[in-house]
């Protein structure tokens, strides 16, 4: 049996079928959609849990997850392209080190302008006073300082005890640590130590020696006598054959396989490291330098708002309020980041050392100033890598580093 369909009916039916595809999603639901660009992989990652918990509350705002990469640089690249195309992210996890770039180039919004001074104050008041300035660039609050990590030592407790070392020993200085690492290496035959070769860990050494990478006026000072002393302490285990230099993914894989005794890395890497490690793992605070005050640094990201649409800005505020709440932040802490809020949340097992390090005071990650700040960061890492590989002496390398970065900052 055949049935004739009129052209008019056919057109209407086709339009009805095509509508969900063609029409913008926001027009179909009443909720304000706020997309959150981030770099966290996995359906079970706490960021997904936080978003789901918020969305389930039915506040009239739906936060949509957009994982646009696995590094801060990658998601920033994509954000830049999408902002240029007029479809920028409403919110984005922005690395501390990219703060200047986010404010001046990407157009991260001033919270006081989009939320008003009182609401901004109410939101940020839920965070500890020492972390609040970290997401303020030039005094302008542009982010929620929600993700803070700090370098810690990951100890393979099985190798540690096998080497006859005190299972509870927590060396306070590298002078105490290095002989222990030597003992571990000699007794177990495994590699004693591995440091990350990047800009972040050497910053801890430079600061703990009393120096700085870039001073408060934005001037590179990484070749000061104190900074040289710090980097000398950093590369010493490489010279003593206690540390075989490798890339960070190689280091993590080798550590997880139980082939390295002690690894220095971000406290936020903990959940990933624990997933594959088949041995007892203990985290202790990063050792400082003998006779000098500790001045450890932090890392991580802040949550910035890039949307210029009022509804989305208000939606972002609601989501941030939820994150800052005890319920939201408790879920977020599953990442391994530190409790930087004033919420009374018990420290998660494994996070004790990092949390204690934070209580002792942390500085911000180096923010690379100027239009060529990101290039300066690459140049700095290159010089650090040359120094670590012994291609250049510490004073000579840091001096060349400073000269190169001065040029880039001035450009």
């Amino acid at each position: 049996m055949s049935r004739t369909v009129s052209r008019r009916r056919f057109t209407l039916a086709a339009a009805a079928l095509a509508a969900p595809i063609v029409l913008p999603r926001t027009s179909l639901g009443n909720d304000v959609k706020v997309d959150l660009v981030h770099l966290f992989s996995g359906a079970e990652h706490p960021i997904q849990k936080v978003m789901k918990a918020f969305n389930d509350k039915g506040t009239g705002v739906t936060v949509v997850s957009r994982q646009d990469g696995t590094t801060y640089e990658t998601i920033t690249q994509k954000a830049m392209a999408s902002i240029a195309a007029g479809r920028g992210p409403a919110m984005m996890t922005t690395g501390w080190k990219l703060g200047d770039f986010a404010r001046k180039t990407l157009g991260a919004q001033d919270f006081r302008q989009i939320f008003g001074a009182d609401r901004t104050e109410a939101l940020l008041a839920r965070f500890r006073p020492q972390v609040r300035p970290l997401a303020a660039i030039g005094g302008v609050p542009i982010g929620l300082p929600w993700s803070m990590s700090t370098p810690v030592l990951y100890i393979n407790q099985s190798l540690w005890t096998q080497a006859g070392l005190d299972p509870t020993a927590a060396p306070k200085t590298v002078d105490e640590l290095y002989p222990m690492v030597r003992q571990l290496q000699e007794k177990t035959g495994k590699q004693g130590l591995c440091y990350e070769v990047n800009e972040w860990l050497p910053q801890a050494f430079i600061q703990n020696a009393g120096g700085d990478v870039i001073d408060g006026d934005g001037k590179p000072v990484m070749d000061s006598a104190a900074a040289v002393k710090g980097v000398e302490a950093f590369v010493q285990p490489r010279r003593d054959n206690l540390w075989r230099v490798m890339t960070i993914p190689e280091m993590v894989a080798a550590y997880q396989a139980g082939a390295i005794g002690v690894m220095a890395s971000s406290s936020a890497r903990q959940s990933v490291v624990r997933q594959a490690a088949k041995f007892d793992l203990r985290l202790i605070q990063m050792p400082g330098l003998a006779g000098l005050p500790r001045r450890m640094n932090s890392g991580g990201n802040f949550l910035a708002v890039y949307s210029k649409v009022k509804e989305q800005q208000d939606g972002a505020y609601k989501f941030m309020e939820f994150i800052a709440s005890k319920e939201g932040f408790e879920t977020w802490l599953e990442t391994g980041y530190l409790n930087v809020t004033t919420n009374d949340i018990p420290v998660r097992p494994g996070n004790e050392a990092a949390q204690a390090q934070m209580e002792g005071g942390l500085t911000s990650e180096t923010i690379w100033p100027g239009a060529r700040g990101l290039e300066a960061l690459t140049v700095h890492i290159d010089w650090i890598t040359k120094i670590v590989n012994g291609a250049v002496s510490v004073p000579e390398g840091l001096r060349s580093d400073r000269l190169a970065i001065e040029k880039l900052i001035a450009a």
């Binding site: 640089e73 690249q77 830049m80 392209a81 902002i83 240029a84 770039f101 180039t105 990407l106 157009g107 590699q191 070769v197 075989r244 230099v245 490798m246 890339t247 993914p249 190689e250 894989a253 080798a254 396989a257 082939a259 390295i260 060529r372 990101l374 290039e375 690459t378 290159d382 010089w383 890598t385 040359k386 590989n389 291609a391």
Partner: protein, 300 residues
């Protein structure tokens, strides 16, 4: 439809532009216009997010040509080409001749599949395997070399070794395509010519060298020209996944340098200048390949 319209329509139907038009439009839109825009951009400071651009004249070209990282990338590109061009063309060529002599069809198919398989893998997937093989502490390579008493190596983080590790992975990953081209070309060599040479008493070596090789020279020439471009281009994937150009740019190449300028440092004007320089280099070398290489190609 009026007669004039009909006539115009008929003329259009008979016109070559009807067939060439879409391809030309696509080429203009996606190749020539972006190339022209890149050339223009290379004289400006410009950001994706800023409406205005600042005129910089030849500054980006001067800056790039004076940049030691560019020099290093240029030298590294030369090393990549000198190492990979003979490997990517020579090894598949030898293997293709060998595979053509495998009598059992099933065995031949297995060899071809195994040898071509790496080419269909994406670099990120292949890199996961290679990162494990290269691991200086728990990797297979150091375990294997350790068994014969060699010291462990830092395959990806030693500035003298990193580039060679990338070359090894790029070779493993990409040589299958040329193998396929050579196998197809060898399969098309008329069997009566080979048979005649055999009857005349030519050895297998002479038949390969004097008959098959000249007859597949167009394929060989094609492989040389495209491999040059592919090596420049494809190596970026291996560099990015394995070393990110490090340690301290020692495994970077020209395209990775361009990528870093544009998409890591967001210096689009400079990146455009680098792109123009690379295009000039590629055009120059390709011209030289055609000028000096094509005379050895037998199309008949």
């Amino acid at each position: 439809m009026t007669t004039a319209w009909r006539r115009a329509w008929r003329r259009l139907l008979g016109s070559p532009w009807l067939f060439a038009g879409p391809a030309v439009a696509a080429a203009v839109l996606f190749v020539w216009l972006p190339m022209a825009a890149t050339l223009g951009l290379s004289f400006f400071d410009w950001s994706l997010l800023r409406q205005e651009a600042t005129w910089r004249g030849l500054d980006h070209y001067r800056g790039t040509l004076a940049n030691p990282d560019f020099h290093l990338a240029l030298v590294n590109t030369g090393i990549y080409l000198l190492a990979l061009l003979p490997l990517q063309v020579g090894a598949p060529l030898v293997l293709a001749f060998a595979l053509m002599r495998v009598k059992a069809k099933a065995t031949g198919r297995v060899y071809r599949t195994v040898l071509f398989a790496p080419s269909v893998l994406s670099f990120p997937v292949a890199a996961v395997v290679w990162l494990w093989l290269f691991n200086p502490t728990v990797g297979f390579l150091n375990t294997a070399t350790g068994m014969v008493g060699l010291p462990p190596q830092r395959w990806l983080s030693d500035p003298d070794l990193a580039i060679w590790s990338v070359i090894a992975v790029a070779f493993w990953k990409s040589f299958g395509l040329n193998l396929l081209i050579f196998l197809a070309a060898l399969a098309n060599v008329p069997s009566d010519l080979i048979e005649a040479a055999r009857i005349d008493g030519a050895s297998a070596w002479r038949r390969s060298l004097d008959i098959e090789l000249p007859l597949i020279s167009p394929a060989l020439f094609f492989a040389v020209v495209t491999t040059f471009i592919v090596v420049l281009d494809e190596i970026v994937g291996a560099v990015d996944v394995l070393t990110e150009g490090g340690p301290y740019r020692t495994s970077s190449n020209l395209l990775y340098f361009l990528y870093e300028r544009g998409f890591r440092h967001f210096q689009f004007g400079e990146a455009a200048a680098v792109a123009v320089l690379i295009a000039a280099i590629v055009a120059g070398v390709t011209w030289a390949q055609f000028h000096f290489g094509e005379r050895h190609v037998h199309y008949d």
